[in-house]
């Protein structure tokens, strides 16, 4: 067993992430979004939902340290985020596996980056553990090109989990998958997140996905021209998920409050989220 515990230090309820007045402008007069503020608790699963172009991915990239905001700040554990860090794992929409490496080596690359002084054996143990966590033990020595889209995304998830980050950032991880595969991996992700008490920030377009996975759903509005001038995009609402935390995809629509929540989000997306 590797010396580090599989579960990141958790203290549920404590604030892990604080975003204050974040803004991004490519044209100074018309920021894509401005004054975006929210917080995330440790162990919380937050989904952000909104139409294309509202700036979700930019927010995620700022949190990942891959992009810089033009205004505002983001703090994790009280320290400002200024660049990429191993404490924040990222799962990319396009899985971003290195095609010349096998599954094992792809994940080992991440593990070696996280713990450079680990022995080869320790690294391999960690790799095997997380590959098995996503159920890909049989494909561990295959190259990504030999895997299906869903399996590749699983490897991407395993890679992000394997470095045991303080927070996980998922950029529409299931966007490119078919509905069936998507469902299976959602269940899997939920199981792993519950098991590891991971803090997750995830972008999605899928309302049901958000309802299934998230403890809280941030509804984001696009920037728009109004009669009183340009209104930059922002988080319009933060909806707490009232459904019990132990829920399954199959039983989701039987839960009390599911339809009310779903209708609320869909109404938002249809009528309020986008400029007319």
């Amino acid at each position: 067993m590797p010396p580090t515990p599989p579960v990141p230090p958790t203290d549920p309820g404590a604030t892990l992430l604080r975003v204050e007045g974040l803004a991004k402008a490519y044209v100074p007069a018309k920021p894509v979004f401005a004054d975006v503020s929210f917080t995330m608790q440790r162990g919380e699963f937050v989904c952000i939902i909104g139409h294309s172009g509202c700036g979700k991915t930019t927010i995620l990239n700022v949190l990942a340290g891959l992009d810089t905001a033009t205004g505002g700040h983001a703090f994790m554990d009280g320290r400002e985020i200024v660049g990429p860090s191993l404490t924040r794992g990222v799962v990319f929409q396009s899985h971003a596996l290195m095609p010349w490496l096998t599954v094992r080596k792809n994940i080992a690359f991440a593990v070696e980056s996280r713990w450079p002084d680990w022995s080869r054996k320790q690294v391999d143990e960690q790799v095997v553990r997380f590959v098995e966590l996503v159920g890909l033990g049989a494909a561990i020595d295959k190259k990504p090109s030999q895997l299906s889209g869903g399996m590749k995304q699983r490897v991407g998830i395993a890679r992000a989990f394997a470095i045991q980050p303080r927070m996980l950032l998922l950029d529409e991880p299931f966007g490119a998958l078919d509905a069936l595969t998507r469902g299976t991996i959602q269940d899997e992700l939920m199981r792993i997140v519950r098991q590891t008490q991971q803090t997750v920030f995830m972008i999605t377009h899928d309302v049901d996905e958000a309802i299934l996975l998230a403890d809280r759903i941030l509804l984001m509005r696009n920037g728009s021209e109004t009669s009183s001038g340009y209104l930059p995009g922002n988080i319009a609402e933060s909806v707490a998920n009232p459904l019990p935390r132990e829920r399954t995809r199959a039983g989701l629509h039987h839960l009390d409050g599911y339809y009310a929540l779903r209708n609320h989000i869909v109404d938002f997306l249809v009528t309020r989220a986008k400029a007319t």
Binding site: A64, G65, L66, G83, P84, S85, L86, R88, G89, V90, F92, S94, A96, M98, P99, W100, L101, F109, A110, S113, R114, K143, P144, S145, I163
Partner: protein, 289 residues
């Protein structure tokens, strides 16, 4: 299905070879000595010989004629059965000559690798350097490598080293451009993965960018090697001394067409083997996305 296609292709190749050899044989057949040839006086024979002609019966057609396939075969056999002899500066075995050429190509190519790959890396990583270097590369690239020869001979003052320099200068461009292109077109997402994992620049260069760009770099190397092998023959004809190019030139001066043809064939075969070797390397580093 595929096997039968290969078999058919091989048979057709053999047929083409046979036809080619047949035509060659027919075209170079010695015409029977004309019976009505007037008998020459010893003085006339002497005179003919001084003019470079062979007045012996049948010798006329043979001396000025192109070698026959059989003569070629004999020469090839003679050369290949004793490839390592060394009878002084102008008479060395074919393997020794080839080794000189391959050595020069190898050395020049290696030096070019050492310059082109790191420089291409830097140029590929930095749009600023790419723009800054571009005009120089664009001007230097189309220069025939042999045009450098006088300058090289004057500055280096050594013909063999000048040959190596010419190989260097012709190999460097395709490798440089391909490396820069390969490095510049490494997928952003792989670099993003590397930065979220806080991978140090050197490790990123060797573990992410190099493998990602390797197929493109190898393509550049393959092109460079092809050009280097083309250029070495011309370069050695120019600087003389040793090497397969010099061998061709020397045998031309000896009017030994069989040796010239043999060398031409050999240059082709070695060039093909070099290309095959690089194709193999290329396959090794190529990945499927």
């Amino acid at each position: 299905m595929r096997r039968s296609l290969n078999l058919k292709a091989a048979l057709l190749s053999l047929l083409l070879l046979a036809v080619f050899l047949g035509i060659w044989q027919v075209a170079t057949m010695t015409t029977a000595p004309v019976a009505a040839q007037p008998t020459l006086t010893p003085e006339q024979i002497e005179y003919q010989k001084m003019l470079g002609k062979n007045p012996e019966p049948g010798g006329q057609a043979k001396a000025s004629g192109f070698p026959t396939p059989a003569e070629m075969g004999a020469t090839a056999w003679r050369q290949l059965s004793n490839p390592f002899y060394d009878n002084g500066p102008n008479d060395k075995g074919i393997a020794i000559q080839l080794a000189w050429s391959l050595g020069r190509v190898g050395l020049g190519f290696l030096l070019a690798c050492l310059v082109a790959v790191p420089l291409g890396f830097v140029i590929g990583m930095s749009p600023l350097l790419h723009k800054a270097f571009d005009p120089f590369i664009q001007v230097l690239k189309p220069i025939s490598p042999l045009a450098w020869m006088p300058l090289a001979l004057y500055t280096i003052k050594d013909s063999s080293t000048s040959g190596i320099f010419v190989i260097f200068i012709c190999s460097v461009w395709p490798m440089l451009l391909n490396t820069a292109f390969g490095v510049a077109s490494v997928k952003r997402e792989w670099l993003a993965v590397a930065s979220t994992l806080e991978v140090k620049p050197l490790r990123r260069a060797f573990r992410v960018i190099l493998p990602a760009a390797a197929p493109t770099i190898l393509t550049g190397m393959r092109i460079s090697m092809g050009i280097a092998w083309l250029v070495i023959v011309a370069a050695e004809m120019l600087v003389g001394g040793t090497g397969i190019g010099y061998f061709v030139w020397n045998e031309w001066n000896n009017l030994s067409l069989t040796n010239v043809i043999f060398a031409i064939l050999l240059i082709g075969v070695v060039g093909m083997l070099l290309d095959l070797a690089f194709a193999g390397l290329q396959r090794k580093v190529t990945y499927v996305e």
